[in-house]
Symmetry: C2
Subunit: 490 residues, 2 copies
């Protein structure tokens, strides 16, 4: 192949849509061309390929370690839930049953009772919790499971943002007092925020959900909300205070220190693979994915540049380089003969490998290599002797830069508004974003805004509540109780 | 409570059946009383409680790390499989469809096509593999997933040994030649054997399955077989050479180095939570579970012995002891006031914690503690200054002893037999065990033995094939081709 053909093939293979101009088409191409995930024979359910699953394994390991430090232990409950259990908590079943996949037959036999493929596990777990908990000595009981859940949504699913099956953690904790239960909220949301920041380079807005947006069955829900580059928001990890709702429905009682029976206080919380959608949408660019270094399966790709004459000597140096760099990073040496260096550059950029190292004969003679950052395209000559330290530093810089860019984007697109007209202008505008405004707290005003503008209240950010004082509700003009973030949402 | 009442309560709570006399009742009590697993609202599906899930997490981490060193990457595919895909490989669908749980409805809608809850993932994965693989450069492709599978068996399920849902790894690898594919077998079985030995303290018999016992769709299957203390066997981890069967059914073709299209060669392999059943059955005793130290969530329990007078000073020392021991082991200090030391001893023995440390005022004055091994009940005075090293050593000794005992049991119960009468005597006897004998290789002889004695050929052990030469088939008397292990099997 000549240079021109290489270029043509790379372009066909590469992303052709512009993120800034047509986000939706760009995101679709990102999904279809980067080998990160793939569609499967089941509509709305994805295959997670190695690069995507590696991201998940990494954040899972970090969250899991943090949970264990808090004394949260892992368990596993069945995938299937008998219908009568799902119905025990009224709001819960109403929230989930429209999306439940039902098992009705096994082999050639019809089941006496339908079994739901779990959309979430409260009901199957709490039946056992009621048996396991007897006295205050059994509490707190802090359990978690890592599994997959299925929610057969009927609107068109967006890959990763909204897929019918996703992987998650579901924490289910039981306490003997509301105070103890409430104290868990900031611990868990703090872990989620830290892992989002330190691994996925993602910021988010933490706050309380409104009553109409809370989890089916919870007393109160809290979320971390992401802003997607098209100006829509996506709900990230969440935490739910269930109070005594499920414990009353499932009979989770304990003998307290005074010897009296009392219903327990419960929380649930989750972090899911939907974050992978927020992550690739946020960081990717017109060349493809940009994987944050700490979650990249391949952090560094080495591309040797050689001719037939010097192939052997260049590859020898490239292998020595790989061995050195592999001490401090996950590295891949692309020594395939099938493609030109230019083709390889494009291919690894498409796949989002954070750092490329080029090594050719001239470099070797000069005792150096060339590093190329995926996030900024910045090229740097690095002395061979410095390459280990420099790689570590560069990966750290890339992570920091991705996070900084994401924070900047988020901050620039939160607009404090005072009038309904301003709110409409923001959330209905092409650029979208978050309109932050006073809200009286009434479900009517919330519904009216949603009906008229398509924007819901994503949450009431903890960090902005001070500003509610003295404000008016952006919808009805009555006195505001909360600062609320209005946005169109996935 | 006085001593007598403590004893009575502990006995009620404890295991009352004798393992040697009534294994089945003993195993049932082990499941029901040790808080390791629990029954759930779904018949035949268990909840894995923290101690059980910890075992699984630990072996999963080890296997996963070994896979990654071989270049096997993790992926995740959907839980549901469309019926038409499941039907693509004839033997495969015949093997699994009697046990498949079918999703027929989602929400209130009937699906156009039924979806199987995965009993195994070949069919959903290989549809994508066919798209991903183009040329020899894409091979080998070695993928794995960690998930749960559902097989709705209709015979009475035995907890852990045979449950309808279990967790496992399913490895799915694709090669460009049969030689490369075959070379994987010993790598994978070697990893499984090592993890069984080093973590679960379990030996097994590795060999080839007969054609009638192989995996549905495979060309050849290999297994590690365990001997359960009641003399029945249980199939452990397995490895399947699929040859080109699935690649032909799913169109997994590649352009080889000669530029010609060829069907790929595939393997699959699995290690499941059924191992937890083999493990607790093998090591447990009449006092309850005995967890091998490397997979025990709590490796050491410290039980302080104090009166009202010296409580404070003893607890202070016990806490200092915990902090020291926690540097080298997972330790729990049971400082609850609710129960006597004797009650606690019984309770932690029931739960199988490998090592107990007792500390009381006299011990403290003498500068020592008392260690009690769960496996042998051996008590030892240990100087406080030596406790860290001694704990590590003792945990190592306990592991080694459990493994040695299990190997001894296995070896003592493999009986080389020459006649059909001897075979019957072994496999039909109360003590059971494995009858190892020559076999001509015919399915008729295999079926006849199974029909008449209830024993199937578990596998043809690699280590015994030398002995086949010159032997006769134990069933028909013709010349033997293989040495085969006959046993009743879970």
């Amino acid at each position: 192949m000549n240079e021109e053909m290489v270029k043509q093939e790379a372009e066909k293979k590469g992303i052709t849509a512009k993120k800034a101009e047509n986000f939706s088409e760009w995101y679709t191409q990102l999904i279809e061309k980067t080998e990160f995930v793939d569609y499967t024979a089941v509509s709305g359910c994805l295959a997670f390929r190695p690069d995507a699953y590696f991201v998940w394994e990494t954040v899972q390991r970090e969250i899991d370690a943090a949970f264990k430090r808090l004394g949260i232990a892992n368990v596993y409950f069945p995938t299937l839930i008998p219908e009568h259990l799902l119905e025990k908590e009224k709001e819960h079943v109403e929230g989930f049953s429209p999306e439940v996949a039902w098992v009705t037959h096994t082999g050639k036999s019809k089941l006496d009772e339908r079994l739901a493929v779990r959309p979430t596990s409260e009901t199957i777990m709490y039946e056992n919790f009621a048996k396991w908990i007897r006295s205050w000595r059994d509490l707190p009981m802090r359990l978690n499971q890592w599994n997959s859940v299925l929610r057969w949504e009927f609107k068109h699913p967006t890959p990763l943002f909204r897929t019918r099956e996703f992987l998650w953690n579901e924490g289910h904790t039981v306490f003997s007092s509301r105070t103890e239960a409430d104290a868990e909220r900031d611990e868990i949301l703090g872990i989620y925020q830290r892992v989002l920041k330190d691994y996925m380079a993602l910021p988010g807005i933490t706050g309380r959900k409104t009553d109409s947006e809370k989890f089916a069955g919870a007393e109160a829900s809290y979320s971390i909300e992401h802003l997607v580059p098209d100006g829509w928001t996506m709900q990230g990890p969440d935490f739910h205070s269930d109070g005594q709702r499920f414990s009353k429905a499932f009979g989770i009682e304990f003998i307290n220190k005074e010897g009296k029976k009392e219903f327990a206080y419960q929380n649930t919380f989750a972090f899911s693979t939907r974050e992978l959608g927020a992550m690739i949408a946020m960081h990717g660019d017109d060349k493809g994915l940009i994987l944050p270094p700490h979650v990249a399966r391949i952090q560094v790709v080495i591309v040797p540049i050689y001719s037939n004459e010097n192939k052997e000597s260049v590859l020898k140096e490239a292998k020595a380089l790989r061995d050195r760099v592999s001490k401090s990073a996950r590295v891949y040496l692309d020594d395939s003969d099938a493609y030109s260096p230019g083709w390889k550059f494009n291919d690894w950029e498409l796949k989002g490998v954070p750092l490329r190292i080029e090594i050719g004969e001239r470099d070797i003679k000069a005792g150096k290599v060339v590093t190329v950052r995926r996030d900024t395209s910045e090229k740097r000559d690095v002395r061979l002797g410095d390459i280990e330290k420099e790689t570590t530093d560069l990966l750290g810089e890339i992570h920091d830069n991705l996070y900084k860019r994401a924070v900047k984007f988020l901050e620039e697109n939160i607009h404090e508004v005072k009038t309904y007209a301003e709110l409409k202008k923001i959330v209905e505008g092409k650029r979208g974003g978050i309109a932050q405004a006073g809200w009286c707290g009434s479900a009517e005003c919330e519904a009216k805004a949603k009906e008229e503008t398509g924007a819901k209240i994503t949450n009431m950010p903890f960090g902005a509540q001070d500003k509610a004082k003295g404000r008016k509700c952006v919808v009805c003009g009555e006195s505001a109780k909360f600062m609320a973030n209005f946005a169109r949402s996935y």
